[in-house]
Amino acid sequence: MPASTSSSVERFDDKARNAFEHAGKTTVYRGELLRHPVYTRVLHWAVALFFFLALFTGFGIYLPWLFRWFTPFFGGGPLSRVMHPYFGVGFVFCFGLQALNWLKPMIWTAADSRWMRNIKGVVSGEEKMDPPDTGFFNAGQKVQFWEIVGGCVVYLITGVVLWAGARTFGRIPVAVSYVLHDISALIMLGGIFIHIYLSTIGEPGTFQSMIRGAVSEAWAWTFHPAWYKQVTGRDPQQDCEEARRKMNSSTKPPKQS
């Protein structure tokens, strides 16, 4: 990426971040770290909202046989069809801003390739902590991010073709776009199941990063050790051991009399 674009993107993001920081605020208590500023959180939930609106209107078009029962929420099948592209554009637009916002922390590194080779240990839960070189986002999150970036490009191109229709673009482009559009949606949907799981019950303590914006230090040194080291200057492994010693001494079974 040329330096000039990257800096103009940064300038834009800084401005947006400042503006949103005036509109809302993030409280970081002692023992916590700032994870996502107001701007990122607002964008994330705008993305999620548009995603689900587009998803549910899309279901009504994809398989009316199964999903007809909830099209009335959108005023029926034909109206779902009319609104779906607007929700889609909202989704792609908001995610576009989020992509600019996250471009830098999402760059793939050698540490990410190592994380991916190690993925079995993480998924099985054998490795209680992520590898020490795991940064602000881990490789799994980066894969999801870039999948959505790719998905948005596919949605946008095929979506415009489907929106304008066979009378503008011809039959074959529409027939092919229809398939690509839906494949993209199904892949993204599968990813979102995993995403929602991991950011809520799968790794407790994550959800608050997108709600309040702050995470506990313990969460940070467990899941993103390199990021912890970078922002606190302390060693994640040592701090974890320290906390373990404290916990063990305080949770010693009370003396039986």
């Binding site: 009504g60 078009i61 994809y62 398989l63 009316p64 046989w65 007809r68 099209t71 099948g77 034909p78 109206l79 779902s80 069809r81 009319v82 993480v122 998924v123 099985s124 839960g125 209680k128 902590m129 229709g165 066979a166 009378r167 039959r171 074959i172 529409v174 027939a175 092919v176 229809y178 398939v179 839906d182 494949i183 199904l186 892949i187 949907l189 599968g190 990813g191 199941f193 995993i194 799981y197 019950i201 799968g202 790794e203 407790p204 303590g205 506990s216 313990a218 969460w219 040194w221 467990t222 899941f223 974890c240 906390a243 373990r244 916990m247 063990n248 949770t251």
Partner: protein
């Protein structure tokens, strides 16, 4: 011939299986025969169609031809196309062809439609749109090789010629047939119409010097339930008919392969995370409290 029983569903979009009692009669298939060589372009069929289907006439565009409007509309299903074809020797042929839904045996509109019951193909060959179930996605427009389905922006649904399924179901002929003054339009069983069409083509070849006269009943869509006699069947494009109408392959691959396979895949994503939670459990921030020891720690499998 065609009676109430002829309106048995044979295929339904987004739906598997046919209706009970299918195939109990023989020679059910109906057919409309359009003999382009005897059409005089009087447009009686256009009027009859608009009249029977209760379509008010709306303003149209004049495009320097005799054609009523440039193409069919959601509320105008039957249009005589006036094609001017110049022969190599410089002579002009004024070709009139009645344009409407072809009621394909293998309907591309139905193959493309995702909505349960929006398009029904009856055992008598009529392909009918059921607007009640239509969601206005217009996929049928891309599925149809004949540019037939038309979107109505007011109702957000798609409309086209019904081959007067309401009349045919009562044993009547379609309205256009009834109106035609020259006998250029005929209606009957597919076998009979095919026979008459071939006889007429033979007559044109033998007695009138149209060496290439023939019948248009494109097998690439399994044949149609509207067939044409053409002066020159080797070049249907001069009548604005596709030479080799086809259904995009992507619809077949999608419906019968990707849709079920990938849908199951996405569902497994959902089941997968639930399975992960109940077998492996969450990963929690470290340190966790020490695990329980001793006789009451439970069985550790």
């Amino acid at each position: 011939m065609a009676d109430r029983k002829a309106l048995q569903a044979e295929m339904i979009s987004g739906h598997s299986g046919a209706s009970p009692g299918l195939g109990m009669q023989r020679d059910l298939e109906v057919c409309k025969l359009v003999d382009t060589t005897t059409c005089i372009g009087c447009k009686a069929c256009e009027v009859a169609c608009a009249e029977w289907n209760d379509m008010p006439f709306t303003p149209t565009t004049f495009d320097n031809t005799y054609q009523t409007m440039p193409e069919t509309r959601w509320n105008f299903w039957n249009l005589i196309k006036f094609n001017e074809h110049q022969n190599p020797d410089g002579t002009i042929q004024w070709l009139m062809r009645k344009d409407q839904c072809m009621h394909c045996a293998d309907p591309g509109c139905l193959a493309a439609c995702p909505a349960d019951g929006a398009i029904v193909k009856y055992a008598n060959g009529i392909v009918d749109f059921n607007q009640e179930n239509c969601i206005g996605c217009e996929f049928c427009v891309s599925g149809c090789p004949f540019e037939i389905p038309r979107f109505n922006p007011m109702t957000k649904k798609v409309y086209k010629c019904t081959l007067c399924s309401d009349r045919v179901g009562e044993g009547l002929e379609p309205a256009c047939i009834k109106a035609c003054p020259t006998g250029c339009l005929k209606f009957g069983s597919k076998d009979d119409m095919k026979y008459i069409a071939e006889e007429r083509a033979k007559q044109l070849r033998d007695n009138f010097g149209w060496q290439n006269a023939g019948v248009y009943d494109p097998q690439s869509v399994g044949g149609t339930h509207v067939i044409y006699v053409l002066h020159d069947a080797t070049d249907p494009e001069r009548y604005s008919l596709p030479k080799n109408p086809t259904i995009p392959w992507s619809y077949t691959v999608w419906k019968w392969l990707f849709k079920p396979v990938l849908g199951t895949f996405a569902l497994f994503g959902f089941l997968g995370v639930i399975a992960h939670y109940i077998t492996s459990g969450p990963r929690v921030a470290q340190p966790e409290p020490p695990e329980k020891e001793g006789p009451d720690a439970g069985i550790n499998v």
